[in-house]
Point group: C2
Chain length 345, copies 2
Amino acid sequence: MPSSRVTQADVARHAGVSRTTVSFVLSGRKDMRISIEARQRILGAANELGYRPNLTAQSLRTRKTHTIGLVSDIVASTHYAGEMIQGALEAALERDHLLYFAETGDDPKVEEKLLQGMLDRQVDGMIHAAMSTRRSRRPGLSHEHPTVLLNFLDESGDFTCVVPDEEAAGAQAVRMLLDAGHRDGIHVVGGHHFTAKTPEGVHAGHERMRGIEKAAATAGVRLSGVAECDWSTPEGGYRAARTLLDGEADAVPTAVICCNDRLAFGVYQAVSESGLSIPQDLSVISFDDSELASWLSPPLTSIALPHHELGRRAVSLLLSGNLKPTIHRIPMPVRRRESIAAPRR
Amino acid sequence: MPSSRVTQADVARHAGVSRTTVSFVLSGRKDMRISIEARQRILGAANELGYRPNLTAQSLRTRKTHTIGLVSDIVASTHYAGEMIQGALEAALERDHLLYFAETGDDPKVEEKLLQGMLDRQVDGMIHAAMSTRRSRRPGLSHEHPTVLLNFLDESGDFTCVVPDEEAAGAQAVRMLLDAGHRDGIHVVGGHHFTAKTPEGVHAGHERMRGIEKAAATAGVRLSGVAECDWSTPEGGYRAARTLLDGEADAVPTAVICCNDRLAFGVYQAVSESGLSIPQDLSVISFDDSELASWLSPPLTSIALPHHELGRRAVSLLLSGNLKPTIHRIPMPVRRRESIAAPRR
């Protein structure tokens, strides 16, 4: 687009002064005596012509581009992408930075190309993001440039990481059910997310389960059971709930903790088919707080992923000028709705 | 990040040649005679030191930055953002361009600041995107720079626009129900989306309704009715369906066209409460094809928003070097599932 660009030479011509004088005035330098009248004429001409500083030339001098790069593994398959990116954009805008955004599709070659493309354009810093929290196994990460890992938990201890506090959220789910009067009838649907595709489980699964188990142990309560299943569709939740509800009456749990809202949706479908009611017959609490949670009937209590805050924090830390290799765990807020009540038994 | 940057001077020192020679070799110029041996030594040194061209300096010469700007109204509140951005990123990557991404939150001041920020960084072109299709009313759009409007329908006829073909999708919904044997029992839930907040209706509503009405007229069929309601939650669909199902038996429609999947979700809830079945008692077809559609029981037939293709097309057009002020209407693909059957009556 530079063809129509107004240059300092244009401003000089318009104001009838030398280009050097224009350059001094427009860059705010004070080490050359220029009359107030000439200064005003130059500023007036710049304004009239719509002159804008050439940041490309400027960044060659200042070595700052006021840009940051955000490289993510994948955005399209998730609902939550938007909020994380929105948080990052908001924090960047507040600090007058623009954001390059790119997606690797989890392909290391694409990642290297994108990374190099951003470094070639001399971004002031980089954020590596994952759309769901995972451990970093990438040896390619550079220590040379200011870098923040967003939703990545780095094992090396060399990077600044920003992740949701999943363990605390798991514990919170148990405490909310205990507060409502539930004891040994608490069942977990979803578990660690061990499947053929995720044989090691997923990070969120491990952390949520750890929190759930610790909080239960602290309260001296035994979980009624854990149904391990695939988190990616409501199907697993539906089947787990059918099995529970078809069992012997005194073995039916009083509450289920669903590892995400999709599974909770499946549980709702099964409960509705059984002619039972939520929360009267079964309390349900879930994680993620997708839009679905507020659409269900009754609306579902869910512990939200703090995506907006994750995005904001990553950018704030990156531009703080004081990056330390620390793991920042962001609290997951509870959205209280109508799916929890005291148990009947 | 330029502090650790390897310069051509470093390469020259390492290879024991002049900086000019390095510059000629690395920029691929042929108008200076350089021995094969020196050329190889320079390329070897560049490789060894990890030299990368300084694109900031290069773009001052070439007047091309190989970057484009994508400014959207809002991403966070929508599920679909991800796919549109993914399509744009994919097309940009294929053409070795990086993408600045920003969001205005629908604030004209923020928009101007972001736009100016991108022009200051000399993007090669701009995409203005809306997350749901709307008519453009912004006088601020510049004709000076290569610009594509994504999901914006511009009335001036001066811009290249890329939008989903909503009218064709509306007609398609009717034809699918006709093909299944439905005639005068087709009801529409959602309509133009006239509400207190959207008194003029929304673009997608008008276009879908136009397609629905034209296709019905072409087939000589009268719609059983149109329930205008808010599209933003399942509530309107639920209430419309309750009213229909509680009416006189011979006035109950045989099929409903829901203007989006949320409304269809509400219709499913009402049908389930009435002890009726989809599709045996009522066929349902919807628009948008959100994740919800495949989770419902039975899975919902929905006509998808072609977000990925919208994003791809916008970038392809922008970088085609041959932008014409045309409206490109992208077909909306049908996702056939199990919510349509022949009518009982």
